[in-house]
Structures are given as C-alpha cells and as structure tokens.
C-alpha cells in the first residue's frame, strides 16, 4: 500500500501511523522532519508545483517500492506556511525485515531533498526573507543511491 500526499494542513502523524500500521508489519521505520527555529526563524514557507510536486513524490515512492520489499509506504509533505515545531515531512516504510524498511526510509528522505519540486523560504524575526540554498552534502547523500 503506497500513500503519497501533499498538504497545506498540519500533518496528522497519529492518523498517518494508524493508516500505515493497519497491515501489522514486521518492521516499520519512520522519519519526521520539523521546522527548526534556529537563528530567529519565525516562518518557513514551502513553495510547490500544483501538479509536479505530488507526481515527483509518487515517482520516488514507486522507485522505493520497486527497489525494496515493502509492505507499506507513506510519504506526506506539507507545503505553504509553517512555524517552528511544525512537521514538514513524514516518511513511513514497512517491511517484513528491518534492513528494507530502514533503507527505504533513508532513500526517500535523501532523494526528497534533491529530486522533488519544493523550495524553502525562511522568514526571520528581524524581517530578513531568504530562499534556502541546497547543501552540497544533500547531493552527496542523494547520489549514494545511484549505484
């Protein structure tokens, strides 16, 4: 069961866990990324493409499902305006075996950062507004999966 969503609402993590866990999987791995209030950040805005962002997430989910033996996969990305503490992204991957669940989770969170049409804009308490620049390390992590 693959579930992919792009939402402007808060990610309802307990509800997503309930949906995902309905199968009773042997091993479940998860990753949650949240907005950090570092450096006086007051708002994180995620810009997305109305159609291609969700299509990109779905494509990644299917690549993961083809590569690892997964019994369930959930990929939810929030877009729009968020404040520190809000969840930005939720990845849940389950399998009969831990290595598959863990690897799929790591693959998805790495590739999310380089392959999907999403752009972060930060607003700080002093009024500065900055688009986030990609980090070289993110590309290094994403490319590990190319082999």
């Amino acid at each position: 069961m693959i579930r992919v969503a792009v939402t402007t609402d808060a990610i309802d993590i307990p509800a997503e866990l309930d949906i995902h866990d309905a199968g009773g999987h042997g091993a479940s791995a998860s990753f949650i990324g949240r907005v950090r209030g570092d450096g006086g950040l007051v708002e994180l805005f995620l810009e997305h493409h109305p159609a291609l962002t969700e299509a990109g997430l779905a494509e990644l989910a299917h690549v993961a499902a083809d590569r690892w033996a997964l019994s369930a996969l959930t990929l939810v990305h929030r877009v729009g305006a968020m404040v520190p503490g809000d969840s930005i992204v939720l990845v849940l991957a389950s399998s009969a075996h831990r290595a598959e669940a863990l690897s799929a989770t790591e693959f998805l969170i790495d590739r999310l950062k380089t392959d999907v049409m999403l752009w972060k804009r930060e607003t700080f308490a002093d009024g500065r507004v900055e688009w986030v620049e990609p980090r070289e390390s993110d590309h290094g992590r994403a490319e590990r999966w190319d082999t």
């Binding site: 990324g33 810009e47 299509a55 992204v89 950062k113 999907v116 049409m117 688009w131 990609p134």
Partner: protein, 83 residues
Amino acid sequence: MAMTVSYFAWVRERMGVAEEVIEKPATVATVRELVAWLAERDERGALAFVEPGRIRAAIDGAMVGPDALLGDEVALFPPVTGG
C-alpha cells in the same frame, strides 16, 4: 512560436509572474537557449537568469537538462530544497 513558461521560488519572484505565454524566436530551441534569451529580453530576466548554471528545468513533469528541446511548456526554477 507560442509556449508557456512557468517560474518558481526566487526565479518567480525576480520575474514578477508565475507563468507567461511567450513568443519565442525560431532560433531558441533548447532550455539553455531559452534561459539566455529571457536573460537578454528585459531587466527582470537579466536578474532572474544572471547565473544560468543555477537554473533547473522541467518539461512535461520530468526534470531535464539545459540541452533538452523545448515543447509547448517548460518550468524554470532554482535547485530544489524540500524534505
């Protein structure tokens, strides 16, 4: 030839529009040529495409390289930063 160009993130901000229909000259066939043409077209384009190497593109939902041939639509944007 008319084509639709959409912009995202700081490319959109610098262009001042999210999407426009342009009449591109026949000499503009690839993403790279379109970016160069937009950079020369006006002040907004000069600002948005001052560093062409930082621009990414998607055609029909797939990320493409600078030498991809243009069709009816293209999206131009900075490197993505999701997750």
